[in-house]
């Protein structure tokens, strides 16, 4: 019995085979197929296709592609930064509240999490009802009632992009809060007590104890929210549809337009591959900057 058990420990492949099969079938194979499609001119409107670099050339020659990259990176960078900072603040408040057994702390955590649990399409629709400058726009209605002028949240391109960023921050911050709250739970209380004895204030404690020990969780959080934000699609589609005049069109929406409006599956797949490369590069960069010196800390 002992021998068999050790065999499983020394040869874990048998345990991993079902998972590997699932990964290959449902993740690796579709991903390879998307990469293959990106090197074709496949279209729903044509029964045949050929292998070509046209899809990538088309993207590079599109006069608006730089604008789409600018919108995508502005959207992602603003979101990641804001979600990290606001999520950390919320996690610290939450941690403080729970350690001091303040009432309603769990209720607050649940309420914040609801924003993250609502499907993206619904978030887009609800915020459209709030921000619209037509007569059913709730915020504009309230502004007019109290004597202010309407604000055209979704009309002027910079304002529309800012609106989309704010809505996504509202939606995504809860995830960061929960991740960072979990990280805070791992830090032993004795470290803070010792720091207090040494005369360290709250800010010193945060930068000398909390932040260094949070690095692994911050890394995972950064990677995940970066990927989530790069892949944001449903919320923007429902809120602005990428408009006005492509002001809020991120790469995922471009892929959608290529595939479902222009029926150009090859170009859509090429945009998806570019997104994949960007996501993997960002994960690597984070790894280099955050985790490379974690061993010493741990």
């Amino acid at each position: 019995m002992k021998k068999r058990s050790s065999a499983y420990y020394t040869h874990p492949l048998k345990w991993l085979l079902p998972m590997l099969a699932m990964l290959i079938l449902f993740y690796l194979y579709p991903m390879i197929d998307v990469i293959r499609y990106s090197f074709t001119n496949v279209s729903i409107l044509r029964p045949t296709y050929r292998y070509t670099l046209d899809s990538y050339l088309k993207i590079m020659q599109d006069p608006e592609i730089l604008h789409t990259f600018y919108v995508t990176f502005t959207f992602v960078f603003s979101n990641v930064m804001a979600q990290l900072v606001i999520g950390m603040l919320l996690a610290l408040f939450l941690n403080f509240g729970i350690r001091n057994r303040y009432p309603m702390t769990i209720a607050v955590r649940t309420v914040v999490l609801i924003a993250w649990m609502i499907p993206g399409v619904l978030v887009g629709i609800v915020w459209r009802l709030l921000l619209s400058s037509s007569n059913f726009g709730i915020i504009n209605y309230l502004l007019e009632v109290i004597g202010f002028k309407r604000i055209e949240f979704l009309v002027q391109p910079p304002v529309a992009l800012l609106s989309v960023i704010i809505v996504n921050i509202w939606r995504g911050t809860a995830f960061t809060m929960i991740m960072e709250y979990a990280g805070l739970q791992r830090i032993p209380e004795q470290l803070y007590e010792a720091a207090k004895v040494d005369g360290a204030g709250a800010i010193t404690q945060f930068f000398r104890i909390t932040l260094p020990l949070m690095k692994p969780i911050l890394f995972i959080n950064l990677v995940l929210i970066t990927i989530y934000t790069f892949n944001t699609f449903d919320m923007i589609l429902a809120l602005t549809g990428g408009g006005p005049a492509r002001a809020t069109e991120v790469l995922t929406l471009s892929a959608y337009t290529q595939m479902f409006k222009f029926f150009s599956m090859g170009t859509g797949a090429a945009i998806s591959v570019i997104l994949l490369v960007i996501n993997m590069s960002m994960a690597y960069v984070y790894y280099r900057f955050i985790l490379s010196d974690t061993k010493g800390v741990e």
């Binding site: 037509s134 007569n135 990428g242």
Partner: protein
């Protein structure tokens, strides 16, 4: 031995009786269970029927819709047909709401042979399905086909490659000028009049001179750009379906249309926030607000929504032509067609008969258009049914749609439309001049289609 002889005789008798019938197949006996519900959410007809057919329509065209008038009409007609055909049961399928996803799915299904027997298809996309659509000439007489409005037959019903009847136009819808008769007794027919009347309305205290759909969507091109572009005689594509809207005379015509919209914004008639008006509800909410707007470009299909929202106030409203540079009318009719993919002639006849009874036969079209608030496309329906020949709005719709030119049925159209929508929004927002916008859009279209 004796038993063996009897067995052989019986077998021989069975074989002879089968062959004596001349190979004639007996029709399977149809049994109808007592007290059945003929129309349920997922079945129409006798559950024991030996023949199963499928049909796919969008939710608002299905008997599952909650709007009482639509639901009652569809359920009644479907039940009547099912009772006359107990040998058939029909399985309804609901099409995706998103047009692009719907088309992608329908093309995939048609190519793989899994598409429903009778399917609702956007009229604009019918040519993409010609190779799979079954000819319908056997089910419609020549006189019947000629009963459809001319542009319907010309644009999508008859396959130009073989001259066969391949789809049936169900109904139509188009964009025109909704206007408040008290504030705008003489609706503008020309661009100059539109600007003049728009300014007068603002001077009278209306918040907006003119509104339209400006949210990034097909409604921009379908309602606010291409009717005017076609009115100037512009062409989006050449005979091979290649985009030509950004070159030569076509470029100048599109620039003229954009320049008109640029003037409307700069002279304060149209607000930039039209960019934020996207849905039917957006425009209707604007119309319902007092002293807000007295004329807007909107779809004929808004009638039922306006009835619900404006109530008695709707008596003051009417529908007219989209303003054109010279005033000569031009509209873009849209609408849905029915296509049939069943290859078995007997089953094809049954599904065509069902769809005719419910949607596109003379009585079917009249009933469905009345229930749904749609505009019929058969001349006899307009002529013979008082609900269409005497209704004030239906008369206005008829008058407006006498001159129509549909959007080109080519794969490049969706690319052209998307790029022209963006260009128009850039002009409205003042980010590009009309010429810059047209040139930028055409460059993008050329990059996409090569």
């Amino acid at each position: 031995m004796k038993k063996g002889f009897i067995l052989c005789a019986v077998l021989l008798g069975v074989i002879v009786s089968f062959t004596w019938g001349g190979g004639k197949k007996e029709e399977p006996k149809v049994t109808v269970p007592p007290n059945i519900e003929w129309v349920t959410a997922d079945r129409i007809g006798n559950p024991n029927a030996p023949i199963t057919l499928t049909f796919a329509v969008e939710f608002s065209y299905s008997h599952q819709i909650q709007t009482p008038s639509r639901r009652q009409y569809l359920t009644r007609r479907m039940e009547e047909w099912a009772k006359q055909h107990p040998e058939v049961k029909l399985i309804p399928q609901i099409l995706p709401t998103n047009q692009a996803e719907r088309l992608a799915k329908q093309l995939e299904q048609a190519a793989s042979g899994t598409i429903a027997d009778g399917v609702q298809i956007d009229g604009q996309w019918i040519p993409l399905f010609y190779r799979w659509l079954q000819p319908l000439d056997a089910f419609f007489t020549k006189e019947e086909v000629e009963d459809w409005l001319e542009w319907c037959r010309k644009e999508a019903m008859i396959d130009p490659s073989d001259g066969k009847l391949k789809s049936i136009w169900m109904l139509t819808a188009f964009v025109g000028l909704w206007h408040n008769k008290q504030a705008v007794p003489n609706p503008p027919r020309t661009w100059e009049d539109t600007i003049r009347i728009g300014k007068e309305l603002k001077a009278k205290g209306y918040a907006n001179g003119l509104l339209t759909w400006g949210g990034k969507d097909e409604q921009i091109t379908f309602g606010s750009v291409f009717p005017m572009f076609f009115g100037l005689g512009g062409d989006l594509v050449d005979k091979e379906g290649k985009p030509i809207y950004g070159i030569g005379a076509n470029r100048e015509k599109l620039i003229e249309v954009f320049a008109f919209w640029d003037r409307l914004v700069k002279e304060g008639v149209v607000p930039q926030r039209v960019i934020d008006l996207k849905s039917n509800g957006d425009l209707v909410a604007e119309a319902a607000k007092p002293n807000n707007v007295a004329m807007f470009l909107g779809g004929s299909w808004l009638l039922s929504l306006l009835k619900d929202n404006l109530k008695g106030e709707l008596d003051n409203w009417n529908f007219g032509h989209t303003p054109q540079k010279t005033g000569a009318p031009m509209q873009i009719p849209g609408g849905h067609n029915l296509g049939f993919f069943q290859k078995d002639p007997k089953k094809l006849a049954l599904i065509v008969d069902f769809m005719k009874y419910v949607y596109v036969g003379k009585d079917g079209m009249a009933g469905w258009c009345e229930a749904g608030g749609y505009i019929p496309v058969r001349k006899s329906v307009f002529r013979d049914f008082p609900v269409f020949s005497q209704d004030r709005f239906m008369k206005a719709f008829q008058e407006v749609i006498t001159v129509g030119r549909t959007r080109p049925n080519v794969p490049a159209y969706s690319v052209i439309s998307e790029h022209v929508q963006e260009a128009w929004q850039n002009v409205i927002l003042g980010r590009q001049t009309p010429a810059e916008a047209v040139d930028a859009a055409f460059r993008r279209t050329q990059t996409q289609i090569r």
